[in-house]
Symmetry: C2
Subunit: 364 residues, 2 copies
């Protein structure tokens, strides 16, 4: 690109939060990355600026017509001090797939990755290093044109903010209780389900609060056409270990193509565990459970990595998965993924990208 | 409520735009209405303030998870000087229906109507009065909590902005060319299709741009399950006059319950024209057209009021509706609705609400 990334220094840096009480997505670092799009200049003016509020016209597209996409990725601090990103090229590629669906102009994936690395490097002192902790990276793009008409915006903002986080579901890996939602629908083929865009999450809130009221942690979404086939759970992809095989719903246009999902499939293949992407009916799953063949269930996502499922409720039936605790395969996947991500385990599949500071690069 | 509405005067007022070139949704008045929601205080601090940018934290819910709803309504200046709103209670009720689906706390419909009337009264000099012109009113609510987790926000902003507008599709009522979309889907039952929320419009952009590339003005959406039944067109509801009867798709959860849609049905009933809300297959419509029984097609919405459809394209078939010009019933509906809205015709159905200034109220 030959594009420069400007750096505007903050007058004062923040006091960092207590690493014992990070929570998820509540604290933000000193800087953020910003970039603008206009029809005349394309994506331009990449700059790292002090973290602070965004000012937009009240008629900005994002407030009315939901033209917005986002990504979620993490930076980890390895024991040897290296700073590692997990498959960032996958997130950048997916961001462009989301952009294409939402009529948002494509970003230069390599350039934005470089800019994110620069931001993470500047903020490296913010990366927490206890088990389960990381620096969550949230790139997002919003339509900013001031115009009340349903059409793609002519101007956009890309922003990347960073948040030091603990484990998404708290400090211990407790199996979650899942409610199979048979009324509300998250997405349907031909819709926007495969894109990481606000509308899918907005559509999910009602079912999630219903599940919580009924005493469950998350919702298992069924397909929007027949309400029979499993799609994803809450904001994660879902896997089932059935009679020695691992199943996950095939990507059909209404399921988010998760980076952790893809990584789990590749790890299982690498290990020689049979794994199938297919259409999975909830009825069949419950039948398998009755016959004691449903061995493990787990969700996958950047935030939680692997989230074991202990209970599944569908209509009037409640099943306990295995003994209700995390299963051995789920545990092995969690430990392998987090091990690779934090540099404790060898990165056999070539997933990690190191963030090296310019000083180091020069010194080398 | 006993709530007060504060008024912060602007230092300087804007120069008003040329009434001959208003366009739609490009110009905004001097003031806007703002109101905040917090868990502790509920909806509070209603205030009319100078129109200007909104400042939000980068992690605000609306930028990531699409938690946003809006409404569209119009204020008209009658020939006798009265300022009239068209069925504002319908918009306020629908806004609360949208809020309920999106987990946004309900507004006090009567109070917000009163506040909007106060705003419109302050801005009455902005209401244009040529045929087809009006003051477009855009209330919207956005989630503002600074937190990166998928859950309903704990804080919100309600904002109402005003825009003097000409006719939505330009100065002449030209029939539009419609493309029946059979790949992309706008909404599905169990989803958010009935709510006026950003995600539905975001989902529609891709199909709309595809239709435009193919030389059409708008998209006709089919149902998300079977891709067989007509739902709505672009951002309007749709009506068909078939062999003397008027048909419109029944509200099924994935169709927006339009205020103009409801008004057209009531007007037709009032006139004794048979009107049916039902499931309408696109195949049947094309069969009727072949037999010269498809007499008129028109879209309905607040922005365009009545928008006649001249051509319909589905798969490889293109039909001309009637003689491709606006039909007599479409024309009568347009003239009656705009006549009632601008006070030229008697308001037999009791739809108009007058905005009376406080001075007048006191003087009375």
């Amino acid at each position: 690109m030959g594009q420069q990334i400007a750096f505007h220094k903050a007058d004062q840096l923040k006091v960092k939060p207590d690493p014992e009480h990070l929570g998820f997505g509540r604290h933000f670092t000193d800087y953020m990355l910003e970039m603008d799009y206009s029809v005349d200049d394309g994506w331009h003016d990449a700059r790292i600026v002090p973290y602070g509020p965004i000012t937009l016209q009240p008629a900005a597209t994002v407030f009315h017509y939901g033209q917005e996409v986002f990504e979620g990725m993490k930076a980890y601090r390895a024991e040897d001090g290296r700073i590692l990103l997990f498959r960032p090229e996958m997130n950048m590629r997916r961001m462009n797939q989301s952009c294409a669906r939402l009529n948002i102009p494509a970003i230069d994936e390599a350039f934005v990755t470089e800019a994110i690395m620069k931001l993470v490097d500047i903020e490296k002192d913010w990366i927490p290093s206890k088990p389960g902790q990381s620096l969550y990276i949230r790139p997002f793009i919003i339509g900013t044109e001031s115009f009340l008409g349903v059409h793609p915006a002519e101007s956009y903002k890309l922003i990347v903010i960073l948040s030091p986080v603990g484990a998404y579901f708290g400090d211990t890996v407790n199996p979650v209780k899942i409610y199979v939602e048979d009324e509300y629908v998250r997405a349907v083929r031909g819709g926007i389900g495969f894109a990481k865009t606000g509308g899918n999450y907005a559509a999910s809130l009602k079912a999630q609060s219903k599940a919580e009221e009924l005493g469950f942690d998350q919702v298992l979404w069924l397909d929007g056409v027949e309400h029979k086939y499993v799609e994803e759970v809450g904001s994660m992809n879902i896997f089932f270990k059935v009679d020695g095989e691992v199943w996950t719903p095939a990507l059909n246009g209404s399921i988010l193509p998760g980076v952790t999902r893809d990584s789990v499939i590749r790890l299982l293949q690498h290990w020689g565990v049979p794994v199938k992407e297919k259409k999975i009916s909830v009825k069949k799953l419950f039948k398998k459970a009755e016959k004691q063949k449903l061995e493990e269930v787990f969700g996958t996502g950047t935030a939680a990595v692997i989230s074991p499922v202990g209970f599944l409720k569908w209509e009037d039936r409640l099943i306990r998965v295995g003994n209700g605790e995390i299963g051995p395969l789920s545990k092995k996947l969690y430990e392998t993924l987090t091990g690779i991500q934090t540099g404790r385990l060898e990165d056999e599949l070539g997933w990690m990208q190191e963030v090296s500071s310019e000083e180091t690069a020069v010194a080398d």
